[in-house]
């Protein structure tokens, strides 16, 4: 029993799961059963992948000890690049690839500048937040380009499937990416390097891990996932707006932190980041259905973020203090 308790206390993402279940119950009651009906669950699951994918990337990067504030802007720039190309008559596949290539390039740039000039990634990516957002507006020419009808393979990304049309295709992409990144982080040597790099850089370096390359790879994965998430949103909406994804970078950081990732690096799980993203979506949706003024949303996220970090630190301390034979 004590052993189970220790395991629980040392895994903050489990506390987040418990909290998520609790919230589901509260909102279900408060909304008179509307919250968990098929339609609403379908709506939430349809939106979750967009934020979830961003949270996966940001969590991975935070575990590696770095930070990306530019994900919200990349979220807009990637699909805008694709849309501009589609509007010019380029077929979907190359346009889609070009969008993701831009995202990868931005990730590379973020990582390269951060490491080459040894500056905080907070600064590099803050600059990139403005640069990528500006580029988005510039290439859109101020007016969102019109994506030709049938140019988007909706069947591959956004149509409803599954029992009771509960899921969008994007959900399966999201699950696949989540599994892939989780395996990458926890089951491969690359994952070991990511954790070592974020956990204690001097040790990783003295053991001969190519820490610069590991960091750049994480920046690129983070950026590409943000771009992919934005592309999914644009496919869902059918039109690219230059303003999508504003504020997303901070929500993604909140999600990672709520799920137990540490700003200092080395600590956290992909699953935690996803739970954090789910919590934010659930609060957003649940408040509306509970007929609470929607302007309280940010207040709730704010409190939850601070509360989660305080709780996580406390739980971890308690867990560590528990001496059990393992």
């Amino acid at each position: 029993m004590k052993r189970l308790m220790k395991i629980y206390l040392e895994k903050p993402e489990l506390a987040a799961v418990v909290f998520l279940l609790l919230l589901l119950l509260v909102f279900q009651i408060r909304s008179n059963g509307v919250f968990l009906n098929t339609q609403n669950v379908r709506g939430m699951l349809g939106l979750l992948p967009e934020m979830g994918l961003v949270a996966i990337g940001v969590t991975l990067l935070m575990i590696c000890g770095e930070f990306d504030l530019s994900v919200g802007s990349v979220f807009a720039l990637t699909p805008m690049t694709m849309a501009v190309m589609l509007a010019a008559g380029v077929p979907f596949a190359p346009a889609f690839a070009a969008g993701l290539a831009i995202a990868a390039l931005i990730g590379f740039f973020n990582g390269f500048i951060t490491i080459r000039f040894a500056i905080p990634s907070f600064i590099t990516t803050l600059g990139m937040l403005f640069i990528a957002r500006s580029l988005t507006v510039v290439i859109s020419g101020g007016f969102p380009p019109v994506i030709p009808a049938n140019a988007l393979p909706k069947w591959l990304f956004t149509i409803y499937v599954g029992p009771g049309d509960l899921f969008r295709m994007s959900f399966f992409w999201f699950v696949a990416v989540a599994i892939l990144v989780t395996v990458l982080l926890s089951r491969t040597n690359f994952g070991n390097w990511v954790r070592a790099t974020g956990g204690f850089l001097p040790a990783a370096q003295s053991m001969g891990i190519p820490t610069a390359r590991v960091k750049v790879a994480c920046f690129m994965i983070c950026s590409v996932l943000a771009g992919f998430a934005g592309t999914i949103q644009v496919m869902r909406l059918g039109a690219p707006l230059p303003s999508i994804g504003e504020g997303l970078e901070l929500q993604a950081v909140s999600a990672a932190v709520i799920g137990g990732a540490s700003l200092a690096g080395g600590i956290g799980t992909i699953f935690g980041g996803i739970i954090g993203a789910a919590l934010i979506r659930v609060i957003d949706n649940g408040l509306v259905l509970s007929q609470v003024d929607a302007n309280w949303f940010k207040m709730a996220i704010g409190f939850l973020t601070i509360f989660a970090v305080v709780m996580n630190a406390w739980l971890r301390k308690r867990g560590r203090a528990m001496k059990v034979e393992t």
Partner: protein, 243 residues
Amino acid sequence: MAAPIIAIKGLQKWYSGVHALKNVTLDIYPDEALGLVGDNGAGKSTLINILSGTQKPDGGEIRIEGEPVRFSNPRDAMDRGIETIYQYNSMVPTMTIARNVFIGREPVKGSVFGIGILDQKRMRDESVKAIADVDLHLRSPDALVGELSGGQRQGVAIARAMHFKSKVMILDEPTNHLSVKETRKVIGFVRALKAQNITSVFISHNMHHVFECCDRVVAMARGEIVLDKRIGETSIEEIHEVL
């Protein structure tokens, strides 16, 4: 006498105007325990950093078992059997013992571009064995290194170096900030290395520790070697004198 395992000849290093290593020549012989002492800024760390591959010399030559080598990163040195253990820098506290033992040298089941799935069972089993081999008793290879005491961490670092069959172990101030009891333990580890036919270079501020576990002592001051004697032929007073 046997041929030196490491032969350093005329090593030079400058840091923007400061001559940190002035023509250092030093032979280290197989199975000996060499104590390296000196004040801060004497050049010990620079010498060690060059031997462990974290810095590059500006001149001179290093031969390992007679072969000239040039390390461009720590991994090159490890591949030649030189392992360095630092006071702080060799373990990631947020990771488990098993993962720490294999950092950078993880066993994988098949790999693409060098990335592969970890063989976690092997990592666990081998780290349990490696730790038992240095007479360290830990609960589980899944415990976080952050939960270990300073002495236990050094024990795991030494177990790691032995597991990878290092021939030369450089211990950079391994007893700093350790309690008396823990220090005894680490000195015990260093003494045990000799029986395993491992050459060790033990760096310390504490002369007593050096005299307790080394065969030979080398003292550095202002980038030069100022004393090089067998332990039996010198005294702590003599070393203090030259420093």
